[in-house]
Amino acid sequence: MNLGESTRLALESIWANRLRSFLTLLGVIIGIASIIATAAVINGLNLYVSEKLSNLGKGVFTVQRFALITNRQDFLDAVRRNKKLLPADARAIAERCPTAEAVAWETHAQVDLKVGVHEIRDTDIGGITPGILEIEPYDVEQGRVLMQHEEDRAAPVAFLGYDVKDRLFPNVDPIGKELRVRGHALQVVGVAQKKGSFLGFSQDNYVKIPFSLHRKLFGTRRSINISVKAADPARMSDTMDEVRAVMRARHHRRPAEPDSFGILTAEGINNLWRNLTQTIFSVALFVVGISLVVGGIVIMNIMLVSVVERTREIGVRKAVGARQADITQQFLIEAVLLSCLGGAIGIAIAFVASALLNAYTPLPAAFPAWAPATAFVICTLIGVFFGIHPARRAARLDPIEALRSE
């Protein structure tokens, strides 16, 4: 008997018991739907992070007080060991690292801002040296970015993130308007394009001011983040080695001691992120794997019931010429189709779920293109693995006894 006929028979049988088939498939449906939905969320996060990090540009890394820290003891050690980074460190890097093409820095403070009746909370006030714009360019919506001469004389000027403009200067042209930070009047010179939000956190709630002005407003005791651009992106690790040597010398580190500062690259952050999401995905996979195994056992169970119910039918088929192989094929295909049907429903649910997540939650779900194919492969394997035993049992029935059964 050919596959087409077996498939037709299997579909007829599944359709004849549609409610039972559907209930049988719940395990597989839920398993496949949740694994794909999880994959969609993680895929979405990965895409987002990669895109944001790629903005950092090629050959760019930052020196910060702390490296990427993933456990508490490391954090406690680092707090004790790592000194704040100062503009002097950045200048030393610029002077003594020949392969560093550009060095710039930024420091941060959080304040609430108010203009008339409008206010915005927890705005990040970033003090930047204008050189940073060569390393990490801002997309300008209106006006202009900060200038070197403004840094040189600590000019009271501000470049706004989109949210700040939107909340403090709704429906008015903000250029030239006044914004008060810590009692100082700053003049707005430009507005950045909207970046959007990530996991519910706005990426546009910031104000950039000259670093020299930042020190006047917030003091000189804040650690800075130093951005370095390697002259040759392909040899960024050489530049990183130079920077590390300079910084270790400045901090008087002995050869065996760990770094007392952190060097972060886009790649490093991306790797850490991917490790994190892969761990989450592995755990999810394991949990969902259990539900798929349970789903498979349910399919096996219902197939065994089906074999008993259809004993007479199997006898008739054998009497008119079905071989064991034909009967095996028929029941195996039924199990596989059943399982794949569950997979298809699961995929559809996951597709809808990831669209809903995108529309109504801050999670940037992206339905992965490989998911349907993988799901069908998994479901086929489940169908074969859990269907082979019932199918063999059906095929081995003695035709005489099968025909005699009630």
């Binding site: 050919n2 039918e313 008739v316 054998k318 009497a319 008119v320 010429g321 071989r323 034909d326 025909l403």
Partner: protein, 235 residues
């Protein structure tokens, strides 16, 4: 062996282990049935006639002895070969019809052709022809539960005929039917015989056996009598 022999058995025996005792259902059966014969196999229950029918129908293999079906030695064939023989050489008609309840009459008739790998168009054509042969040309799309007992048995006969087998093997074909319907079915079987089919009817009813031209009686696993009858009047 002569080419017109559809069935030849020599010393056919069949034993079953029932717990610790061995039951000898058949104790050596020699039987020859030629092409175009119409044979009734009779015997009380427990005589071994069902066992003989299962062996003739290639549903089972003998403990010892030889069996040629349509010239092929089939006593020691493996499972898939037996399945092929059943498919091509034998048409079964059962007491309980044994139609697939969810399939239409036509599809039931197609079933042997599906396992015989006949292409769909030809399959449909041959199944329709078989339905016409049993006068059910207007019931092809009905399901078994929409048909009367007699009609169901006609569908089952059409299914048996559709592969044009060497042998039509009917096991108590009227056992589940009332007298009038039984007569209709036997008239149909008589007609198929007159068209040249070789027919074996297993029955314990004397008036059914009277339709046949030869009656083989089985008792205690052996052939007790084998007599030719004068051609029965078509009732």
């Amino acid at each position: 062996m002569p080419p017109d022999e559809v069935i030849r058995t020599e010393g056919l025996t069949k034993s079953f282990a029932m717990g610790t005792t061995v039951v000898h259902a058949l104790r050596g059966v020699d039987l020859v049935i030629r092409r175009g014969e119409y044979v009734a196999i009779m015997g009380p229950s427990g005589s071994g006639k069902s066992t003989l029918m299962n062996l003739i129908g290639c549903l089972d293999t003998p403990t010892s002895g030889q069996y040629w079906l349509n010239g092929h030695p089939v006593a020691a064939l493996p499972e898939h070969e037996l399945a092929r023989i059943r498919n091509r050489e034998i048409g079964f008609v059962f007491q309980t019809f044994n139609l697939l309840p969810r399939a239409s009459a036509l599809r039931n008739v197609e079933l042997p052709l599906i396992y015989g790998s006949v292409p769909p168009a030809e399959r449909r054509h041959r199944a329709k022809e078989a339905m016409h042969q049993v006068d059910l040309g207007d019931r092809m799309d009905h399901r078994p539960n929409q048909l009367s007992g007699g009609q169901r048995q006609r569908v089952s006969i059409a299914r048996a005929l559709v592969t044009n087998p060497a042998l039509l093997l009917a096991d108590e074909p009227t056992g589940n039917l009332d007298t009038a319907t039984s007569n209709e079915i036997m008239v149909l079987i008589d007609r198929l015989h007159s068209q040249g089919h070789t027919i074996v009817v297993v029955t314990h009813e004397r008036d059914i056996a009277e339709h046949a031209h030869r009656v083989v009686t089985i008792r205690d696993g052996r052939i007790a009598s084998d007599e030719a009858r004068r051609k029965a009047a078509v009732s």
